[in-house]
């Protein structure tokens, strides 16, 4: 399924060519990513795995258009990131990328709905107050939190907060959902629920890329890219893929068995 053979197929969401990223910390040059070529097509569900220092965070920042490559090329949805200004990058993030973070990163003392509405504040052209509310409520309903719209993060569980964050990521109907250790702060059951949401979204056509270091979380994805020392070491389709619905059912059965015993 390459563009060249099937010209009607959509352009890749992510196209990295010989991507390198070098940080200068003090007088030492740190080569975080040392030449990665990677293509992610629309509709994919990719896990980027690796130990700390493997360069996966740098990959994440770059895919999220928060940072530019030191060298190499990065096309996001066909657009060369290097040619965009800081403001154009901000607009691109606003329209095409949804972020989900490990620490949720919701605004404290701000309701779930207002958190979800946040990206719409920066839409150009702007969204009316009423439009913001409607879209925000729709996004919250999508993650099953319609009844928690007026709750502040402090009154929500970790799983609920992450759902709010996902709703916020989805509210502008992005091309790419980018998740950085989305289950890192969650217990295993909630983690599976969150992965279930990602799987549902992916089934509906959303492209999802997440960074994780947990192998069993990566198995909910369709493709796993393993990084080490700033290079891609492995890039395979997931075999024996976990499905959140099945895993939750299993967990439920196990709990029942424990209770019966």
């Amino acid at each position: 399924m390459r563009n060249l053979t099937y010209p009607n197929v959509a352009i890749p969401i992510v196209q990295l060519e010989e991507f390198r990223k070098t940080y200068v910390s003090g007088e030492v040059e740190v080569h975080a990513v040392r030449g990665v070529t990677l293509t992610i097509q629309p509709g994919e569900f990719v896990a980027i795995m690796g130990a700390s220092g493997s360069g996966k965070s740098t990959m994440m920042n770059t895919l999220g258009c928060l940072d530019r490559p030191t060298s190499g090329r990065f096309l996001f949805d066909g657009v060369n990131i290097d040619e965009l200004s800081r403001d154009e990058l901000a607009d691109l993030r606003n329209r095409k990328i949804g972020f989900v973070f490990q620490g949720f990163n919701l605004l404290a003392r701000t309701t779930a709905l207002e958190n979800v509405e946040l990206p719409m504040l920066y839409c150009r052209p702007g969204v009316s107050g009423r439009g913001q509310r409607e879209r925000g409520e729709k996004a919250l309903a999508l993650v099953g939190l319609a009844d928690r719209a007026d709750h502040t993060p402090s009154r929500l569980s970790g799983g609920q907060q992450q759902r709010v964050a996902i709703a916020r990521a989805l509210v502008n109907e992005p091309k790419l959902l980018l998740a950085d250790e989305p289950t890192g702060n969650l217990d295993s059951r909630t983690s599976i629920e969150i992965m279930g949401i990602f799987q549902d979204l992916n089934d509906q056509g959303m492209t999802v890329v997440m960074v994780t270091h947990e192998l069993d979380i990566a198995r909910y994805c369709r493709r796993v890219v393993v990084m080490r020392d700033g290079l891609v070491r492995n890039d395979d389709a997931v075999k024996d893929r976990f499905l959140a619905t099945e895993e939750l059912a299993k967990l439920h059965a196990e709990q029942k068995a424990v209770q019966l015993a």
Partner: protein, 404 residues
């Protein structure tokens, strides 16, 4: 736009005490500006009122020249305005409705066994017209009284009150001025304080001829009062008087006048010069406190930017441009300073009357000072909020998101 203010308002409400303390600097500064300017304006209004109470379109000719050599010798100099000068002014100037000389003397006045020292002013029959000074009862003395140096007088309200008691019409009574019996023919209405703060009503007016012949023996006057027929003719009358008196006093070209012709405007300017200096001085100190208040805002906004680095990171990540963040923090700073400014204006409105009540300063809050104060507070917010806001706007989203 409204949404931006709502967000800013909420951010400030979160730290209500801190926001208030930050605003306090601006509140104090703006209140100081309002009160300070109100003192200046009040003092000017008071002076203007007193000057106006002297009469309408009034020019004063004073013997001596206060401005000569920078020495204020005017009042100390021997009087040099003569009755002939007075007659000349009456006959030879145009556009003049009333002229009166003034010959002052302070003498003992007695009624029955009561006696006191009172300022006795010898004036012409046109004096009351010149000074727009109506009578409460009785009549003015006449030209004939002046010509014959008759023993008639008009009595000021304060003097009448002291001698005869309050609200007792003294017209028809006889008082002894330096042992000569004078008939009171008119009772003057109260005029209030004059330009020097003196009580204008503590006075007895008699024909100037009577003063010169019977009371003081003076042959010259200290001052003339001249009323121009309209505001437009004041300058012309001033010029005529100057030319006439220079000619009569035989002052050669290039020499200084030995008299002064002052319009009310000039008198007002003379007294208001001090007020202006006071206003500028107070404004200067108030300005300093405003700058200090502004620095307070800058300080707190810098702290706020640091505290909310992560929030800024989130906003940048979801697509806020630098200028969106800039606008957000700038709005907060401006809101702080503008609310502070409004509270300061309120405080000023509350303080100024208290100052009048307890310290006796005349105060008058002008609309212009309120508008300016409000604008200044907004400008302070913009100026001192800009640097912190710029700092926020320039944050790197990755660094900001990672900030703990």
């Amino acid at each position: 736009m409204l949404a931006i203010f709502k967000i800013a308002f909420r951010a400030l409400r979160r730290n209500i005490l801190r926001s208030f303390l930050t605003m306090l600097g601006i509140i104090v500064g703006i209140a100081a500006v309002i009160v300070g300017v109100s003192m200046g304006t009040g003092a000017k209004a008071e002076v203007d009122k007193r000057i106006a109470s002297m009469g309408q379109n009034l020019l004063t000719v004073i013997s001596g020249n206060m401005t000569r050599g920078g020495v204020r010798g005017g009042f100390g100099m021997a009087p040099n305005l003569t009755p002939a000068d007075y007659e000349a002014i009456r006959k030879e100037t145009f556009g003049v409705t009333a002229v009166s000389p003034e010959a002052r003397t302070s003498v003992q006045v007695a009624v029955g066994n009561q006696n006191s020292f009172v300022q006795v002013s010898g004036v012409s029959a046109e004096y009351l017209t010149a000074r727009s000074w109506p009578l409460r009862s009785g009549d003015n003395f006449s030209e004939t009284d002046v010509r014959n140096a008759n023993k008639v007088c008009l009595i000021g309200s304060t003097t009448a009150k002291t001698i005869f008691g309050e609200n007792i019409d003294p017209v028809g009574q006889i008082i002894r001025i330096k042992n000569a019996p004078f008939t009171i023919v008119g009772w003057l209405i109260a005029k209030g304080s004059g330009s020097f703060g003196q009580d204008q009503d503590d006075v007895i007016l008699v024909p100037y001829t009577s003063v010169m012949k019977r009371l003081s023996g003076d042959t010259k006057f200290r001052s003339f009062f001249v009323q121009a027929e309209s505001p437009d003719s004041i300058a012309d009358v001033q010029r005529q008087l100057t030319e006439l008196l220079r000619q009569r006093h035989q002052i050669t070209e290039g020499k200084d006048d030995d008299f002064m012709v002052r319009t009310q405007q000039e008198t007002s300017d003379f007294f208001n010069a001090n007020n202006r200096i006071m206003t500028i001085l107070i404004g200067f100190f108030a300005g300093i406190s405003l700058v200090v208040g502004g620095i307070g805002i800058m300080n707190i906004m810098l702290v706020s930017v640091t505290e909310r680095t992560r929030e800024i990171g989130i906003r940048l990540a979801v697509g806020a441009r630098g200028r969106d963040v800039l606008r957000q923090f700038l709005t907060e700073a401006v809101l702080l300073s503008v609310v502070g400014g409004a509270l300061g204006i309120g405080t000023g409105y509350w303080l100024a009357p208290l100052l009048t009540k307890f310290a006796g300063f005349p105060t008058l809050i002008s609309n212009a000072s309120v508008v300016v104060a409000f604008a200044v507070s907004a400008i302070i917010g913009i100026v001192f909020g800009f640097f912190p806001a710029l700092k926020a706007a320039r944050l790197d989203p990755i660094e900001a998101l990672r900030y703990e």
